[in-house]
Symmetry: C2
Amino acid sequence: MRAYDIIKKKRDGAELSKEELSFLITEYLSGKIPDYQMSAFLMAVYFSGMTDAETIALTGLMLSSGSRLDFSDISAPKVDKHSTGGVGDKTSIILAPLMAAMNIKVPMIAGRGLGHTGGTIDKLESIPGFRTDLSIKEFKGNIKDIGFSIISQTDEIAPADKKLYSLRDVTATVESIPLIAASIMSKKLAEGIGGLVLDVKVGKGAFMKNINDARKLARTMVNIGNSMGVKTIAIITDMNQPLGQTVGNGLEIKECISALRGKMPDDLKEVVLTLGAWMAYVADCVTEEAGIAKLPEHVLIKYKSELMDLIEKGDAFKKFVEFVDAQHGNPEAAFKPDIIPSASKVKEIRIPAKGYIREMDAEKAGMAAMLLGAGRQHKEDRVDHSAGIVLNKKTGDYITPDEPVAIFHYNDETKIKEAEEVFLSGIRTGEIPPDRKQIIIDV
Amino acid sequence: MRAYDIIKKKRDGAELSKEELSFLITEYLSGKIPDYQMSAFLMAVYFSGMTDAETIALTGLMLSSGSRLDFSDISAPKVDKHSTGGVGDKTSIILAPLMAAMNIKVPMIAGRGLGHTGGTIDKLESIPGFRTDLSIKEFKGNIKDIGFSIISQTDEIAPADKKLYSLRDVTATVESIPLIAASIMSKKLAEGIGGLVLDVKVGKGAFMKNINDARKLARTMVNIGNSMGVKTIAIITDMNQPLGQTVGNGLEIKECISALRGKMPDDLKEVVLTLGAWMAYVADCVTEEAGIAKLPEHVLIKYKSELMDLIEKGDAFKKFVEFVDAQHGNPEAAFKPDIIPSASKVKEIRIPAKGYIREMDAEKAGMAAMLLGAGRQHKEDRVDHSAGIVLNKKTGDYITPDEPVAIFHYNDETKIKEAEEVFLSGIRTGEIPPDRKQIIIDV
């Protein structure tokens, strides 16, 4: 076999065999196939696509390039959720303790933010002392004892994906649905879970800008998961405006703490409870070794109300406190959120006109937060955990010049003007309110 | 500017500016843009194509990455021809002395063979002592004194093309019309010529398998040449069966010597005289600073008959002898072709059935010759100058099992069986003769 022939075959639109993909990945990892052949291959995949069989084979190869966690000694169901990335998306940090309170184990390996999107790991690191670089042993221990743990990507998990992703990142080959699906799923399947709920974001602040691509990505990932023995479902959610009322790491942790104490804005609540209900249902399917069906509304409502009970009784909050403590963070932060660093400066952002907010572009809000210091332009950039945006108004709200639409939190004011321009350029107002859009688009 | 953005822009089908292409080529040559970004870019070009403006800009950049020969001290018109590569295509070696006999200067920089296609340089090197690595000074001297010279690619000519071609060769990005056009034209324009006649081959033994691609390549190259001040025309010729009666370096040189002495098979004669007539016309256009028009048949016939006269009078042959001598070859070879090495073994190849040859696949004949030792599978392979195939019969001829269709010449018999199988698998016979096909398809 020759790399050249495999590149040419993919370029010409043919389906590669498992053996050909295996040769490609194995020889690439061992350094026998150089980056320049792999990047040509990746660009050919960008244009020619991959069949389901190819995507599943590629996922399997990336998965088996590293180790796969083994939780067979824990009898409770292991279920994770994964979001394809958005702005203000802090659902993981609320859901993991909530599911743990329901005796569902959540072994979550999460990522950092890049560009306009935030990352769960950056958010957690705004808690003083918090560590996400636990050993696999500590990770497992926390899952056993508390019910969940959230750590950052380790070198043992899917090293082939890590090497490939670095190359895709600099060769404009990230935006390929089969490559995105294989990358996400190879890491999630390594977690040793029995079930997985995917939150595929669609809209201005998401990687998938249109519903067709979102559905295609969702279907591809569900197919990979189920064909590899993990009960997987995907929920498509709206990411046209930021989720919740905060964008930025420390600010979002404070919002999570409020949420775990029962105070959630409607959009965040809807996404958290829907994802949570499906995680609970998937966990039941794992336990009962049953197939996954589309749930009737009344069953979903039952699960949601159980989850609300766990929040209101304080069980989810309690799990969160234990979690912060176990990962070397200061658990006092959960009771006194002021312990989480605040920015030295704030600025009220106003709109000169009055009217209904018809649009609040999530990508632009994310870019503005990044410019304030909350995000990374490049992978190696550092983030300012205290910087970000508090949204006083959201789409559908009525606004006048008298009240700020948002408050910027920042320490470095060099890009404040640019951030304000970018943020405001994403807001459109009008005399009539916009039609109410469903945040849960499809399951 | 960032390489990433340029790759993405091309990937998304947009037109690149001259500045963007210049940045890409300059930084790639200086090593600041790595191979893996360039190969992703090349694959994006394979899929997204290039506009005429981009192709012209790229050609200009590759041309100016090296030196351009200057023949302004020679007043006679300088015209070259270039073939896109075929099997048994020895026209350059006949045409260059023929045009020189007409006082048209031909400064030809030629290539080596690869795969099923032969190369002018390999053919010439079968003449004992012949050198193609002349200095530019010697090259120029020969053009002044004899009227033509043929040398191999030097490092001074279009080094950007050389570096890019090596990368394309291993990343399955060779078969892109704008990249092929820019590569050929950057080298030809460096020859300091005023006119150029392109022989774009189409058919089984050519790079362009169908007439649409051949026309597109022809148009692209003509456009580049004319927009850069070189009067360029393209002729599309058939390459479904090998050209002439020999395939293989020494055998082809012997056929060239016969041709220069007036003995040419019909198909070879038709291509040589048509290309030669157009070279003569283009030379007149260069001298008269006139535009190129489509020639009426009677004018072409006049040029062709002038060329035949020069062959019959022995003027072209005389130029060839001078050329061999000037390039350190043994000029006796022109008079006693036995001086050119012969293979130690021959084998007659027969077809078990009788009938008309309806097809003789040029690619398969070229592959068979390569297996006999006449060609290279890989760039670093050595060729056996004496190996090859003499075709006793060609498409349209009647054949019986009593007479050989071809004679294989070889020294190494390890691949003789494979060569015979490949060669015969390309021959189809039938009870009725095929329709006579025009070898000159379009101008």
